[in-house]
Amino acid sequence: MRLKLSLMGIVSLAAVIFLLSWQVNIEILGYVLSKRSIKVLAILLSAWSIGSATLVFQTITGNRILSPSILGLDSIYILFQLLAVMLIGRFSPLATNPYVNYIVTTILMCLFSSLLYQRVFSKKKSIFSVVLIGVVMGTFFSSITGMLQMIMDPDAYTMALDRLFASFNDVEEDLLLLSSIIVSLVVVQFYRNHHLLDVIALGKNYAVNLGIEYDKEVKKLLVMIFLLISVSTALVGPITFLGFFAVNITKTYLKTHKHRILIWGTVFMATITLLISQILVEHVFGFGLPISILISIFGGTYFIALLLRESAA
């Protein structure tokens, strides 16, 4: 187990080094490295947040094919980006200034999700009601988005489009630092609670029987998931399927239920997936393909394969 985990660590490290050093021009080494390290850091950050958030989300829901994007956070993000360009104008600070955009979107997503969960939890509904409401809200927001895309000015749309696909090539340094602090704090918090996560994975009845304050703990974990997803989406854009892909591959590979190992496994696996996709985007497709599309192709195929296998079994 330890061996497999270290192997995953080594592969991610190798990919990091490759991305940093491949075809580097020695004369402008400092400049290139600083540019590239920002990119790599942004990748690590997304991998950490999306990977661990999806793992914990699946543990809470006891379902292997769900991911937190089902809660509709991504669609809120997209809707907001379109609205910002359309209503406030494409030259307003909200659309052009990445800092303002980042802070406002993060706050908005956190606000929405806490509203959602608060309403739902105050009525003592189960986690599945939360998921269901999330799905409905997500569809609702995407429908509005679809309508807006139809009626909006094509120039403005092109501008907004840029933000709708995840990209690691234009990330702001200061925002990255702030996000890294938030993300690492939350992931460490997950890790410190790994025994608790093991028990929550057994289901509500078990957890309550073993003396866990289930509702309170799940609420706390959900808030942390919201935070992770909001931060990473606002920074680089939505990447569907990454979490799902990383968690399932990790579970199949490591064959364990212990979150102490699964957390790091998932984080490494998400890192490897993102890094390799980025390498492909840069060196094979020559930046012609957005990374999120590449990952959706991987992840989507795997998703369908898993569904087919489950239904066959």
Partner: protein, 251 residues
Amino acid sequence: MIKINELEKKYGRKKVIDKISLEIPKGKITSIIGPNGAGKSTLLGMISRTIERNGGSVLIDEVDVKDWENNELAKHLGILKQSDSVNVRITIEDLVGFGRYPYSEGRLTEEDRKIIDRSIGYMDLESIRLAYLDELSGGQRQRAYIASILAQDTEYILLDEPLNNLDMKYASEFLKILRQLVDDLKKTIVIVIHDINFAACYSDFIVLLKEGKLAKMGTVREIMDARVLEDIYDMPFNVLEVDGKLICAYY
């Protein structure tokens, strides 16, 4: 002692448990029986705080379950529900190890390991302790779940239809183990059970529920009376005495 007072549960406007009051004595096996839909599992769920109640109170050792520290209660009261199935791929040993969570929060001590071994031995799972739950037969899995409740080492053990999936041999062995736990270790066991004859042979008290109400509670001899049972189940009964045990023929 478990003291239940005017306990109520409603789903919408339907009362599933209607003002039940009773006392479950310490150091005994108490069986809850009754027709389908009588509210047996709901009653057990409310005693164990896994189902919210709508009124009344449940006192365990004089303290309401709501006022117990969750972790502390987990060391005094363990429950196994009929619907519980784990969809995580774990071994028997892991599952039984989880029973120690209230004590060690996942970091197993030497003491914990001893108790885990003992519980596995008790349920006769020694030879398959490293097998995964999804590889087991229904009966083996049921024994594994029960071993994890034993590892939790609680004074009160609540079991919701634990005989499901057990054949006659394991069912009667299992009830003998429960008897031992009560007689030797002074545990208090409350069990929801369908087979009235198992209830009669192995328990001390029987609680009879019907349509959410307490029909009668008493010793086995008081309940195993053809007239009482006919009233509850709406069918003819014939109670026989075999080897000093009361057995009901109802075919």
